[in-house]
């Protein structure tokens, strides 16, 4: 019986050693990397889902490409920063930002009120708004009012989801909102008639309908809601100064027409025209 108790103790000690070994080797790696980066060029760590063309996507060689990428690279170059990309599921991105594993997010992040409360945003680098994707033959949906009693798909947790939920609560809760984990199958859902509409950013919707070759169209020209898009940073004193310099660079790119040029290169619609306030 005594022996048994001892073997339990041994196991526990062994366990602790294994865990300690894991932990110490990791911290070793971490600090080594940190030291390396501070002596060499400064690094801006950017997170993204990598699935938001034409703003951010990944080319055949696994490299980041798109409007967001080129804007960031120009700003980074001016400030002496190298961009280091991390791709992750969108649901994990803001967790990584909070945990300090990345410095900012490049995913056409709308500057919504809730997000502004928590993060400091750069000057907007793009302007667009929401639209509805409907079936080619569907002419019933002319405004957001017409969605009442209809099934509408949203991407779980994004700002359009929030917008639609809030509108729904204020207007009688008649829209049947169906959240999706990721965008993969959503346009097919509309094409197959399982959804009456899907709410999306206009630029993305326009290019996706064209590329995917599905019998879909935009409900109309009007934006359901306008959005300004910026790069979010964790609110802190250290970031403040950097963010000012960062914003100034975006402002410069906007004023000298570089943003417009990049927008023409990547997007079918000009995304650099500020909304009328």
């Amino acid at each position: 019986m005594k022996l048994k108790k001892f073997s339990g103790l041994f196991i526990l000690i062994g366990l602790i050693f294994v865990l300690a070994a894991c932990g110490s080797s990791d911290t070793g790696n971490g600090s080594a990397n940190g030291a390396e980066t501070s002596t060499e060029k400064k690094v801006l760590r950017v997170g993204s889902s990598g699935i938001y063309p034409p703003f951010i996507s990944v080319d055949a060689n696994g490299k980041a490409q798109g409007y967001d990428v080129e804007v960031l690279e120009l700003v980074g170059e001016a400030l002496g920063y190298e961009i280091e990309w991390t791709f992750a599921e969108f649901s994990g991105i803001f967790g990584m930002l909070d945990a300090g594993q990345i410095d900012t997010v490049a995913n056409l992040i709308a500057m919504t009120e809730q997000r502004r409360e928590k993060y400091d945003f750069s000057t907007p680098y793009a302007y667009s708004g929401a639209t509805l994707v409907v079936h080619e033959d569907n002419n019933d949906i002319k405004s957001i009012e017409d969605l009442k009693g209809k099934k509408v798909g949203v991407l779980l947790g994004n700002n359009l989801h929030q917008f639609l939920e809030e509108w729904n609560q204020a207007n009688g809760n008649e829209i049947i909102i169906t959240p999706y984990q990721d965008v993969s199958g959503t346009y097919n859902e509309v094409a197959l008639g399982r959804l009456d509409a899907f709410i999306d950013v206009k630029i993305t919707a326009a290019s996706r309908i064209k590329d995917e070759g599905l019998p879909l169209k935009l409900y109309g020209e009007e934006y359901l809601i306008n959005f300004d898009y910026g790069f979010p940073f964790v609110r802190s004193e250290e970031n403040k100064e950097f963010l000012e310099a960062f914003s100034a660079e975006i402002q410069k790119l906007q004023e000298d027409g570089t943003l417009k040029k990049l927008s023409d290169k990547w997007s079918a619609i000009d995304v650099t025209i500020p909304h009328e306030k």
Partner: protein, 227 residues
């Protein structure tokens, strides 16, 4: 709908590039899960006081909470409580989360394998003057192994597929690569099918290896029958 078979094939080299990371995470977690699972099983079988109660809570946590949430808690939650943990990189976090979770499951597999070997055999060994370790090594464990292999192999295949959850915290694997590819072309069905086929082939290979291993531990039984 128009299915682009050519495109699907063209994705193969770009997705297979990430096979090593999948096998690395899957296999290392699997091996760790076996080690931890055995330790858990021993503790449960012998009901060591305190250790047993703690383990019951741990196992109930790992079995009861979805893997994705465990990875989240481990990678984003713990560093907020213990800042030193934030230096753990994403791959390590996934490996630790996956191995502990599956150790909790495997401990039950091992426990039942132990129970399946009749207690009388152990007593018989002791009665012919074998030591405890001799009995375990030469009589009990070979039988336990034989019983445990099929369900354990199942867990290996499951863990290989569970690695795709790693993309949530920024580890790009085959599934993630397929998503990134499809995002540009919007050909999700083609990309997912390609990944599906690759995973299928991997598990077919693993199943084959498992059957070889089973035949190996089955040998003594076969000889017996031939004689």
């Amino acid at each position: 709908m128009n299915f682009d078979f050519q495109y699907m094939l063209s994705l193969f080299p770009r997705i297979i590039e990430f096979l090593p990371i999948v096998l690395y995470i899957g296999t290392l977690s699997f091996l760790l899960a076996i080690v931890f699972g055995m330790i858990f099983a021993v503790i449960i079988n012998n009901k060591y006081p305190v250790l047993y109660q703690i383990l019951m809570v741990i196992i109930s946590y790992f079995r009861g909470i979805p893997t994705l949430i465990q990875i989240f808690i481990f990678y984003f939650g713990l560093p907020q409580l213990f800042p030193s943990l934030s230096s753990i990189d994403a791959v390590t976090a996934v490996i630790i989360a996956l191995s502990l979770r599956n150790a909790a499951y495997l401990s039950e597999v091992f426990r039942s394998a132990f129970l399946a070997v009749d207690k009388g055999q152990y007593e018989a060994c002791i009665s012919v003057n074998m030591t405890k370790w001799q009995a375990l090594r030469t009589v009990i464990l070979p039988q336990v192994t034989r019983i445990a292999i099929p369900p354990t192999g199942n867990y290996y295949i499951m863990m290989i597929k569970d690695t795709s959850l790693a993309f949530t915290i920024g580890v790009v694997d085959m599934m993630a690569r397929a998503k990134l590819e499809a995002a540009v072309t919007f050909k999700f069905l083609e990309a997912y099918l390609m990944v599906g086929v690759i995973y299928w082939v991997i598990s077919a290979v693993l199943q084959f290896l498992q059957s070889k291993l089973e035949a190996y531990v089955e040998k003594p039984y076969k000889k017996e029958a031939a004689k």
